[in-house]
Symmetry: D2
Subunit: 314 residues, 4 copies
């Protein structure tokens, strides 16, 4: 269970309220508002507030690029032009706030994106929940033999069982000892009246990196796209990618035109170096080019062939 009964009730109460506003409002995102999308075994992502819509991007672009871009029919073209040519400031005019529950080792990657506002649950003040991320068996992968940062085949049989046991036992034991050292339970009730209890700011160090934390995380659309371009990418670690994918769904509801442009010109796009472009031009002119005469390293040639869908030529 990712949400407590109390939290579910708070969300329902919040969703029941309606206000009148003059602000730009997006019905498709209002439908999702406050609702938690489950991610991993105990995590979630939920949108708790937003500012702006596709039209706010257009409005800002028009103040910058002035008169003559007024035809309503061109909104989509303008947003796609801005995305294609990396005119990023109009996208900064939209803002979104998420409430996220996530394992600490995922939070450590995520926080490296510096241009966001964050309020994280503090284990100096409060006691963390008794919840840890345990990978599902299909995500229990071996180290990749070819890629130092990647995953290889899924572990199986006794090795898989042993890993799952260790992860579960160590996280549980460490949490139990955390509570014992603090000498208070999750509600802050003292356990043994004869002991003082370790300071929370010290006790937390016994927790494992798969313990869950939570935070409010607020950013503008430009920086969110940057986050998603790195974290919804196939090279991102699975455990953060699933958060990025859940967030991408909320972006599709919120700013459908910008989200489409992002898919076409960023997520699905490739960059060719000066040398690679020259080779593509030669190939298009009918020349047969191989790695040897390409001037590219083997690694880069392999990357190029992959991009061009010619894996076999490598």
């Amino acid at each position: 269970m990712t949400l407590t009964a109390e939290q579910t009730q708070e969300i329902e109460a919040a969703r029941g309220v309606r206000h009148e506003t003059r602000r730009p409002t997006v019905p498709a995102l209002e439908d999702m508002l406050f609702t938690a999308t489950p991610v991993l075994d105990h995590g979630f992502v939920r949108v708790v507030d937003y500012m702006g819509d596709d039209a706010a991007i257009v409005q800002a672009a028009r103040v910058s690029y002035g008169r003559g871009t007024r035809a309503v029919s061109e909104d989509r073209g303008l947003i796609r032009y801005l995305m294609r040519h990396r005119h990023s400031t109009p996208f900064e005019m939209c803002e979104i706030k998420y409430h996220v529950k996530l394992p600490i080792f995922v939070a450590r990657q995520w926080i490296r994106h510096r241009t966001a506002n964050v309020n994280e649950y503090s284990a100096r003040y409060s006691i963390l929940d008794r919840e840890f991320y345990i990978p599902s068996p299909d995500q229990l992968s071996a180290q990749s033999a070819v890629n130092r940062q990647g995953r290889g085949a899924v572990l199986e049989g006794a090795e898989a069982a042993r890993v799952l046991d260790l992860l579960r036992e160590d996280a549980t034991r460490n949490y139990d000892h955390y509570v014992e050292m603090l000498n208070e339970d999750e509600q802050g009730q003292k356990l043994d009246p004869g002991r003082q209890g370790l300071a929370r700011e010290l006790g937390r160090m016994n927790l494992t990196l798969n313990a869950y934390t939570q935070w409010y995380w607020k950013t503008d659309l430009h920086n969110l796209f940057h986050f998603l371009s790195l974290r919804a990418d196939a090279h991102a670690q699975y455990e953060i990618r699933v958060y990025a994918e859940a967030m991408m769904a909320s972006v599709e509801a919120w700013v459908p035109i910008a989200a489409g442009a992002f898919r076409d010109y960023r997520l699905g796009a490739v960059t060719l170096s000066a040398q690679m472009l020259g080779l593509v031009q030669r190939m298009l002119a009918g020349e047969a080019v191989g790695q040897a005469e390409s001037g590219l390293s083997k690694r880069e040639w392999r990357e190029l062939m992959q991009v061009l869908g010619r894996g076999d030529d490598a």
Copy 2:
């Protein structure tokens, strides 16, 4: 006139629309939304969007500082505690977007605040309006004799008249020549079919620094308070201070508790150095302390006496 008839009409149309939203909504700010507050002779400030309210600050603080801060009656106390102890991240959870029209020399000061999102009217793409800031006679001040960045007495008589004439004539002539060089009027219509017209990105260099520009400017509440603490301060140049004051009024409507805390703990607060604090403690103990034995420089002593409301002791 700061707004064109077209703009006034657009604002009225926007204000007439109401949406239903689940988001936190602030009626007092909704009342002002889109409306332009006149500033200087042709400028304005208007709120065009916002996210969050006083409760959003409390919500974020509680995720950080955890259970046990739940009593609703303590919201005010919590916000004031956060402000007093410079716990700034909860204030970052609120966001506001302004549309501002302002002289270029004011924009040059303003843009130094880097943690905001900006889309400015571009004179590379568009033709600027024929509007320039001319100070009102009571703001036509001499250079201060004691303060290298300040103003002294108001100019009078022939000197004042001459300055106003020069400012008006030079700005007007330069604008006329700008239009002549571009060879197009404010609507982009070609003037003399026999001439090509200078590129806009070049022609703009003939404008004076009191020409008006405009932008969308969006920031979070923490950074807005930082901006206001510098620009609503008595040491700020009058021409930017009047913008800060107009924005402060919108903040009072938006987040009244946070705005009050800001007035008490930031705008009206003073900082005493270690040495100054030691002197105050000695004075409170009944000791008569003068500059000579204070260990402070004359300048710092004067600053301290001013802070303590003892101008005469200097």
Copy 3:
């Protein structure tokens, strides 16, 4: 003349001093240190300090990506890999500080790059120099007919002469009136003892946007590359591009491997959208594809043909 005699002397004095240091040091950049590279008619760029070198990028990457990347022969390969895959943080470990003299309208574009440290000459405190940018005749271009932000053919004959006269006369007259209103000369000497003189913070508003200002501008290598990718680009306005090009020369001296990687993978690179890549793959497979069946808009098709060096197919 871009430098005063006093400045030239200060630079020579600074260049004459040598210190002993344990820090990474780059002889090729030391050779240039403090020297001013002239830009435009009165501007300059000069490097006044730096931190790090190509090896500092490698050092930071290795702390991140760990053991097993130690072979010295691979430094170049590692830096190029980082650039190609947009691993930007190791480039942030190098820092450079410039002293720049530039027209105000160029400064207004430049300052939009927010991740830099800036100290600008303040016309609230000081009197600006009597210098303004007047374009050379070969840069006096007409507005482009096809591109709303670009330049067309160079102006000629009477039109060119008139433009140059207006720019020169207006800037000069406005500067003269600025001095008259302040009632002090460039050295701060009072001119007419019978007048008070307008406050400097007000007088500056009479200056034109081609007046020169100066600043110290400090940034890390990653953000400098971002700046250069936008401002050394062919679409940048000529008047800022020449600064970017002068800075690019200092980067080549400073971090030659990173600068080469930047040229190949950023400056000379192109990005293909998901759709464009699909079209290139079809073309490489021998299919004849035209705009009609491409699914691209005319504008995007034109952009693709240009990238592929097939201008004629459009």
Copy 4:
């Protein structure tokens, strides 16, 4: 031991090299360069590069505040003026780079300072060292009864012994299981040829938050002062405060005038709210003021009495 023999050797080698430079150089900081200051049981801080000195602050301030601030004797006064009046940009002209080894739970606090450049050792790519922070007995404190984020009395006897045992055993066991799951030792050698070994990016989640990580951390002096004002403060958690204090020592060597100003006007300074200042003025005028008639809450009154060194009046 905080440093391996290999690291000690690398540091000695680096310290043995001298280059000639034209850059501002600070002999007192050069003396420390690369040397590791031990912090906690296995951590360290060491300066690995720097840019600028006290004179660079003055140089930047003078470009901003112009002519007339030239007298060399006034450098100290100018820097202290800038600090006192929070003119922060000249301090941004100095930059420093640290190499730090620190427990993960300390790194999680530290990284919240967003305006720095960071390259952290990645446990996705590499295997972490077998080192964890175990508090010394005099730092093994109970939770404070009065302050939800603070420490109370030191634990003693059986309770202390039990806590130390748990911390040591849990961290060790979890590390051993981490190595077992990865199926490779710290040098990356495969342990059991019959097993695949879990991906590093997954295995790391079994580590405890007192495991040590390391990073390069680079920032400018203004942001470093902000970091130090929060983390060298008595309210900061001991485990991060000791790092801040070690860094403060390097700042004293590097920019002694700025460091002194920082001590006087920031670290040792207090801020009085508008209401508090009014009360101090009344007290100085001889009025006897108590909490009841002060208008302050009990909490604020207590804070004020503490600031004024009148703990007994509360």
